[in-house]
Amino acid sequence: MLKAMFSRLGGLIVVLFIVSIVVFLLLYISGGDAALALLGNTATPEQVAAMRSSLGLDRPLMVQYGDWILGVFHGDLGQSFYRRESVVEVIFSRLEPTVSIAIVAQLVALCIAVPLGIASARRVNSTLDGIVTTYTMIGMATPGFVFALLLALVFAFQLQWFPLSGYSPLADGVGTWLRFIALPAISLGVVHSALLTRMTRSSMLDVLSQDFIRTARSKGASSLRIVYGHALKNAAIPIVTLVGVGFAVLVTGALVTETIFNVPGLGKLMVESIERRDIPVIQGVVLLATVTFIFINFVVDVLYLILDPRVRQSA
């Protein structure tokens, strides 16, 4: 099992290296100049040249990349061109809102998806199953930003129950924190719940038709025990996969949601940095996103091993 885990970890480093080169080259060919973005519309060529030099943008491309990758190996992701802070500090200052929204959205999705998926699977072809199936189809077909705008229109704009934009840190109070992240988290969570519900339903249907469930029923096990004690554990692998991948999807979905709700998180940081060509920050965020994605996949793989003895056996 350990060997399998280390083998996967080795592959991750190669992926990270390739991603960093691709992102760096993409930024280079996308045009634009951070020095011009800093100095504004009517800066003189001398000012721009001096700023380019002070930012290190006048060095050859390979030297810029080499310096950056060397820094990464030393735990230094460089300095933001705009914020005069290290990239690590910039990212940490924007991490809380994004992680908060992703976690709460995931909870919202799970709270909706697991009960609905199970109920739908237990009453297959019933009216409830029809309603749940329709819900999942609508949910998967609706872009996240549409739902976000609808929520904003009703609960922030019309009813004014929640603030339309902004973020309050958890340290300033749980209630205020929840008020600010409620709408973005619900909008992401509900949309994500559609796919999760569908997956839970189909996975449960598969398991509920297996022989060991029939055996359990014939032995007189209660319905609740069959569903929660036997079926759910066996149906969990695809659900866990989707929850893991979904976390990464929720983080990337934050690009749009954070813009709509003006939440100062990683998604918004990414958009702003791309607009300004703040290359060190873009590289840092992409690196973090890649590491997170890979780490989550790694955790999911480990959970497979724990949850399913067959996977453990083959590993």
Partner: protein, 524 residues
Amino acid sequence: MKIPGKKRKLLSCIGALAAATLLLVGCAPGSNESGENGESATLTTAVVQIPPMLDTAMTTYTPTGWLMRNVVEGLVTSDINYNVKPMLADSWNVADDGLSITFTLRQDVTFHNGDTMDADDVVASMQRWTELSALGQSAIPGAVWEATDDNTVVVVLQERNSVLLQMLASGGANIAAIYPQEIVEEYGTDPIDDFVGTGPYTLEEYKPDEFVKLKRFADYSNRTEPADGLAGDRTPTYDEIEFLQVSDNQTRFGGALTGQYDITLASPEDYSKIQDAPELEPILNWVGSLYLNYNKKEGAMADVAVRQAVNTAIGSEEIMNAFEPSPDLYEMRPGIMLRSQEEQWNSDADADSYNVNDPELAKQMLTKTDYANEPVTIMAQQNDRSAKAAIVIQQQLEAAGFSIELKVVDATTLLKQREDPQEWDILVYGLNSKLEPSAMAFFSPDFAGWTNDPTITQLLKDYRGAATYDEARAMYPQIIEAYAEYRAMTKVADWTDVIAVKTGLESAPVHDSQIVFWSVPLLD
């Protein structure tokens, strides 16, 4: 009545959800605007962007200027009619040969760090501004600032500049701000990020792309004259001002409607909604003009006759109507200065060649040039009004016989590509107004467009070298005439930003591209 188990569970769930929602709603913070009962009064302003740099000498961003003019001050400033008025200098005297100006400084002006301003602070700050800022380099290259005593400073110029005081009075880009000497020396040619000024507000917190928080400076050394534009009394009405970056137009406007923001830089599309909303009032902020800038270095537009043909084809009203939802939001007038500056700068020297809108005449003019239907690239900025204008300009020029390629790019790419004469022929974009015409960037041979006309160069030299400011002003019609003959640019129209303010704040004064924040009235 007995409720069955399943229904009871369902009702319990609904009840729990409702309770949680009410709890969250109940956590709403109260309003912080009134300033009553000893509470601090905070003015919340939603803007499109918090600038990436606040050093007014280094960046030419106008938003940096109007934000920082609350924090830092210069030697002089301007009143509502753009007359130069004293600020940190009490008076000044221009030498007979115009090659030096002596400023007598105010005494007992306190910096935010508690130090008293003296001539050494002014010399250090102004020398840095002269050498580092785009405006300083253009206005007084090689000038030397000297202190003759604690309260007197002299600037010795290489060349006379009759409009130097107007340049020093700028409350937009490149404010000639005074900082303590030690801060200037500490940062040198690096961007300052320790903003100790003498203004009515101190900079409490700054996060680029997020927010700026200003706090009333308790020991502010106020002037005694009544408030007038940026001049005179600057007693702040609010204890704190928050500028929040809210990039999305809809979110920003939604925040204005729900009362989250007191002042909101709105999108022109929201103008009628602001007029209809009882809780909001619009303020129009005339910031500048929409122009066609020509690449005079190479390509089809290097020929002045082709530029004149383009100018003849342009119809301003059709262009502005394509994207401005109301005629209130633009004004078609010749010249390069705004109506609010008419008292200082007035000329109809280019009236005949403005808004000609005659494609047939343009077609005829084009036949007399060497233009051989080669593609003309129009470049404009994505997600900007200029991009919509560019589409109409493309149609108008095609009707006049031009072959047009439209290129719309993001702001940063535009800034980069406009420096390359092979990337574009016509650049459609907005330029902010300046306090005097020679500060308009398009007159500079280094600025994109590369104006290079001996007549304009000589006129601008004579204008800056005029014996007095009034003599310089008298040359404005000649400059405009030369500008129109050379066709350095084509102005489409003056345009305005739309500011949504809470009802009760509509009397907030606007001057030099932005609201004068220290004079915003308190809400009842």
